[in-house]
């Protein structure tokens, strides 16, 4: 069965809005909403502190499962791994990246290498800073916890489709180690609210590659996030009009 025509219209409309924002980015002062989030400020502060104190950070890239090649949330995580590698390239301790899928493992390795290359420190890249840690959700968490057992990390950033098994990290890590969760799984987000230090809820997940960028890169607003803001308000207006029509008809 073909997907609905509405989906195609939405894709074309998003593409047009994206093109328009790209074109107008330097002509009109567009205000991104994501910069005022309290949790993004907290994450940036933690990242800066990790670099200053020379403590390593851990990033977990979680793909949904092997049946889905790469989930959009995993793409966000891969982009974030590139930004973090770039940001930590010159620091004492490189970020340690784990993942749960073959395709994500290959792309993450490339993204981390790219991060080092952008910082002109490609020679600093070490294959030991990346590890594939099992693909089933629970197996992945147990394998990953075994890998991280002996090193205290400043923070653990879990991005992707993590479910309730993320709660195990709260039991394993020391109190000083901060846990951040960002994903598209509703169960994972709910678990994170009870067990993690901070949770990036819903579409906040897609802000992470921009939030984790080295500060010098933050001059221009991210077009993708601007488009997300525009679409969000478009949906709110459409839903409002729909609700009014239901009331009036």
């Amino acid at each position: 069965m073909n997907p609905s025509r509405f989906g195609l219209i939405l894709i074309i409309a998003t593409l047009l809005i994206y093109g328009l924002c790209l074109f107008l980015r330097n002509k009109i002062k567009l205000l991104p909403l994501y910069k005022n989030d309290s949790n993004s400020k907290k994450l940036q502060l933690s990242l800066s502190r990790s670099i200053e104190e020379g403590k390593p950070i851990h990033l977990d890239v979680l793909n949904r499962d092997e049946s889905q090649l790469i989930a959009p949330s995993a793409l966000v995580a891969i982009n974030t791994s590139e930004q973090l590698a770039n940001r930590f390239a010159a620091s004492d301790e490189p970020p340690f990246v784990t993942n749960n899928s073959g395709s994500v493992h290959a792309l993450t390795k490339d993204a981390v290498k790219m991060g080092y290359r952008q910082a002109d420190l490609e020679n600093e890249f070490s294959a030991a800073s990346l590890d594939f840690a099992g693909f089933d959700s629970l197996s992945h968490q147990t394998t990953m916890l075994g890998l991280l057992e002996e090193t205290p990390y400043a923070m653990h950033l879990n991005i992707g489709s993590g479910g309730p098994e993320i709660a195990l990290q709260d039991m394993m890590f020391q109190n000083e180690e901060e846990i951040y969760i960002a994903g598209d799984s509703l169960l994972g987000q709910a678990t994170g609210l009870a067990t993690a230090d901070d949770v990036f809820i819903g579409e906040q997940l897609y802000e992470l590659p921009v939030i984790t960028q080295p500060e010098r890169k933050e001059a221009a607003p991210d077009v993708g996030l601007l488009v997300m803001d525009i679409l969000r308000y478009g949906f709110i207006v459409a839903l409002g009009i729909g609700a009014l029509m239901i009331l009036l008809v």
Binding site: E82, Q141, A194, G202, M228
Partner: protein, 212 residues
């Protein structure tokens, strides 16, 4: 051909295949559908090869860990030994491959059962900790709404003889989590849509060659 131009060509090719894949979902032409199915098969094969490489990487990392004394020695040793036992036993005993597989899955499922129990305990402790923490408004409201909706959905209010207007208010509150759920899902879907378009139309590529 230099590396950057080669990468640009690969990027354009990948983008075109992606656009074809998107458009083919709206086509009823048998030839287009066949091509689409063929692409899915190829992608699955590539994913299988990448998974095999990832497993090799995992084993190499364990050997490196033992050699360089990095990470937990016990963990690295046990992981490596179990991998080798399963690998060699599985290959040497082809006739009993299904029994090897079922044994491995049995061990895995028992470990997973223990882990699920642990998750339950950790979450109870997490809720206790959130209850004690007064710093986060979001977490406190999450906790209170969890308690409130647990009581609401338990049917507790159906035993009480409430005035009609109060019942209407409770019925309205009952649908609030559904609204919240839709809000979250719409937000995630918008993000996925924009991320997909960025990747498809050459804005963002998580492999070598993008961004000069």
């Amino acid at each position: 051909m230099d590396l950057s131009s080669k990468n640009k060509r690969l990027t354009v090719l990948a983008g075109l295949i992606g656009i074809f894949f998107l458009i083919s979902a709206y086509s009823d032409q048998p030839a287009v559908r066949t091509a689409r199915t063929m692409l899915i098969h190829w992608a699955s094969l590539v994913a299988a090869v990448l998974l095999f490489i990832a497993i090799i990487d995992f084993v190499i990392a364990r050997i490196r860990g033992i050699k360089d004394h990095t990470g937990s020695f016990i963990y690295n040793l046990i992981s490596l030994l179990i991998f080798l036992i399963v690998f060699f036993y599985g290959f040497s005993n082809q006739a009993g491959a299904s029994s090897v597989q079922s044994t491995v899955f049995m061990i895995q499922s028992s470990v997973e059962s223990v882990m699920t129990g642990l998750i339950c305990l950790v979450m109870i402790y997490g809720i206790y900790r959130v209850a004690r923490s007064q710093r986060s408004l979001l977490k406190s409201s999450f906790l209170f709404s969890t308690i409130f909706f647990l009581v609401l959905y338990s049917g507790f209010f159906s035993f009480l003889k409430l005035p009609a207007f109060l019942s209407k208010i409770i019925d309205f509150i009952r649908i609030l989590p559904v609204g919240g759920l839709y809000g979250l899902l719409i937000g995630i879907a918008i993000g996925a849509l924009v991320t997909g378009i960025r990747v498809l139309f050459f804005g963002d590529h998580p492999y070598q060659g993008h961004k000069s």
